[in-house]
Symmetry: C2
Subunit: 424 residues, 2 copies
């Protein structure tokens, strides 16, 4: 079973980083049609090489079962023919996206005749640290390639065998269309030490993207010397203003919480204006409960809805990732804004209101990547925003904020064309 | 002399960071005319309070002389009535710049009717670490205020007394127009420990901008947990292609090196194609020498120009900040690109050529913030680019690359307006 053995050439992690850097130079110059040919070759390989991928994946799953991996993690790790077809289809969707490289963002002719243009260029080498989800391997590799970047993947030792085969298939696919195979590298075989080295590789890696649990992201943000784009953790709020429509409030609360509770744009805390609590809370909490939500309420909530469990101070800062929901009655808009300022992770906040002035203040004063009026928080998503594919959702303010598409995987360069101009 | 004593209220560094954060919330909502009124009040204070500023500056200078501060550093530290007038004028120039806050960058109406807009918003709190140059205190404060940001300044203990008075004047000016005085803070009194704490203040400071020596920038980049925008160090190259015009080559080399040798966009290494070395080097190096430049040449350069001093391997990576220039004869464009890849700090590179294909390859393959054809490297400058004021020149790829104007001091926010939409 050659697919599950180590590669014959043993490369050090430094070798791999240098190889990725070298490959990135050629890849940055590749045309859109070359990159699309590479993506099509990857889609074909993933769609037709089940005989190489699934045995490696089964080995990872067996190791996982042996080491007591949870059912949820096993499910995320598992590949099957349907999922492989899905991955091939997702790769083909990236082909359809516009290539951001070469886009002219700004330009002018200066008074001295110098012609100035700012164009999008690839970062160079993107690093990704994520958990044992092989779909992310294909996903990130496809997005990086389309944006002209080489990529170094650290995907979790628990998926090491699967990722090794997937990366080998990608490398073969790239070589088959004349693109540099080294543009996609996995460093899973170096374990935790490899992740640590990747975070120190300033100068070799231009940007590092962590994807996964809040804990993983936090570790990368704290330890990395390479610039990081922080994605993910969402302590997301919906505020029901005193003028909110009860039916709309229930629909938005239920959809925000229930449609997919384990993702970062799912609702964690519902805030309700005290003036409308009696009118809004009973129907809204009834709808939530009927949809399987467990309510944790502050004192005023429990007066109106005694079935609610009590809350502790820590609950407000918690990303449940489950059907548990915090509910709090607030004095007014200012009190809601204070609560959000204290506990939000600056991901997504939504207000349900019919009052224009209140809506405008909420939009202006809530300092989050996405702020909404009368809409479900589940819309914070690259696909929903029309980006076609999503690299992640940035919760930092530098470079990219909110859902990131392909343009967010690029940097820029200023080009100056002169005829011998010198500065006076 | 109350201006040079410690403030009566002793605030801890944490207090100051919290005060800056609180002030940033109000400042983010301030209108352009309010912010301009604040800037005008600052300009007036700086222009008319010489009696408060100069004694404090004299105290810093006296301390500097006592501790053996170099003449150059003393000159950078020194304020006088002319320089104060210059600072007031520079502050008024910021008033004239367009306010980036609120600019709509992208927007669309989604198929489900959701209205999506991406708008520029202030970062929140900007941190700045720089050396003992009081003009930077006014400069950064003005740029931060105009872009709606609070700012925490760490300006070097050697300018502590001057900065304390300048910041007090700024705070009074802000308060006089109803803006939060706490929006501008100095933490010089906390010494090195203060700088260290500032670099750890993730969550309190949104972005940190180091300005000064390569060593200072390197320390901040290495130690900061707050996202950094790396500015500055420039090992800048000019490549004379075999088709270069000799006269243009000499003018561009001289201007790039001599016009202001101590700044980051000044030339450090001149590369010459071997096919044209005999034709180009004698007149170009003669022009440089006549302008006071000391030539350090590789072996092939010294064959053609025996007066050149020898070079060592370290020279190629050095930012001289002086009239010393490295000169190297390269085999061809590829050899020049290799040299640049190895030694450039990715700031600015320029080619002198009459060959279009060579120019295009150079522009495409050199991975620097600014790449030029037939122009002096001294044009890499926010003022020259038409930005009106310059926060610094970013040599990193994340968020901002090249000269940074006011828009680079902002983040963005997505605003979603709905009518009750939920995700299906």
């Amino acid at each position: 079973m050659p697919a599950t053995t180590a590669p014959s050439e043993k490369l050090s992690l430094d070798d791999k980083l240098v190889a990725a850097r070298t490959a990135s130079i050629a890849l940055a110059q590749a045309s859109t049609s070359q990159k699309n040919a590479g993506l099509e070759a990857i889609a074909q390989a993933v769609g037709t090489a089940a005989d190489r991928i699934l045995p490696a994946n089964e080995l990872d799953l067996a190791n996982g079962r042996e080491s007591g991996m949870s059912q949820g993690l096993q499910d995320r790790l598992r590949l099957d023919p349907d999922r492989l077809a899905g991955l091939a289809a997702a790769t083909r969707e990236v082909i359809a996206l516009p290539d951001p490289v070469g886009t002219v963002l700004r330009g002018s002719t200066l008074p001295n005749g110098l012609q100035l243009t700012q164009v999008r260029v690839p970062f160079g080498v993107v690093g990704a640290i994520y958990e044992a989800r092989p779909n992310v391997t294909i996903d990130i590799a496809a997005l990086a390639l389309k944006s002209g970047n080489a990529v170094v993947l650290r995907g979790g030792s628990a998926a090491e065998n699967t990722n090794r085969v997937l990366v080998a298939l990608i490398q073969e696919a790239l070589a088959s269309v004349g693109l540099p195979a080294d543009a996609v590298q996995t460093i899973d075989e170096f374990g935790r030490e490899g992740a640590t080295q990747l975070m120190q590789a300033r100068g070799f890696v231009d940007v590092l993207i962590p994807r996964g649990s809040a804990q993983l992201i936090d570790t990368v943000v704290r330890e990395s010397k390479v610039p990081v784009i922080e994605t993910g953790a969402g302590v997301v709020h919906v505020f029901l203003d005193r003028t909110a429509d009860a039916e709309m409030a229930a629909e938005i609360a239920v959809n925000s919480k229930v449609q997919r509770p384990s993702v970062c744009n799912a609702l964690e805390t519902l805030l309700v204006d005290t003036d409308a609590a009696e009118r809004l809370l009973p129907p809204v909490l009834k709808a939530l409960t009927e949809n399987g939500v467990t309510i944790h309420g502050d004192e005023r909530t429990r007066e109106l809805y005694p079935e609610a469990l009590p809350t502790s101070d820590e609950d407000w800062a918690l990303e449940h990732m489950s059907l548990d929901l915090n509910v709090k009655v607030v004095d007014d808009l200012d009190d809601a804004l204070d609560h959000i300022r204290r506990y939000s992770t600056h991901h997504t906040e939504s207000i349900v209101t019919n009052d224009m002035a209140t809506a405008n203040r909420f939009l202006a004063e809530v300092d989050s990547a996405v702020v909404m009026v009368n809409a479900s928080t589940r819309f914070t998503d690259g696909g929903e925003f029309g980006f076609g594919a999503e690299v992640g959702i940035s919760t930092q303010k530098l470079h990219a904020r909110g859902p990131m598409g392909l343009p967010e995987l690029t940097s820029t360069k200023w080009i100056v064309r002169g005829e011998g101009q010198v500065r006076g």
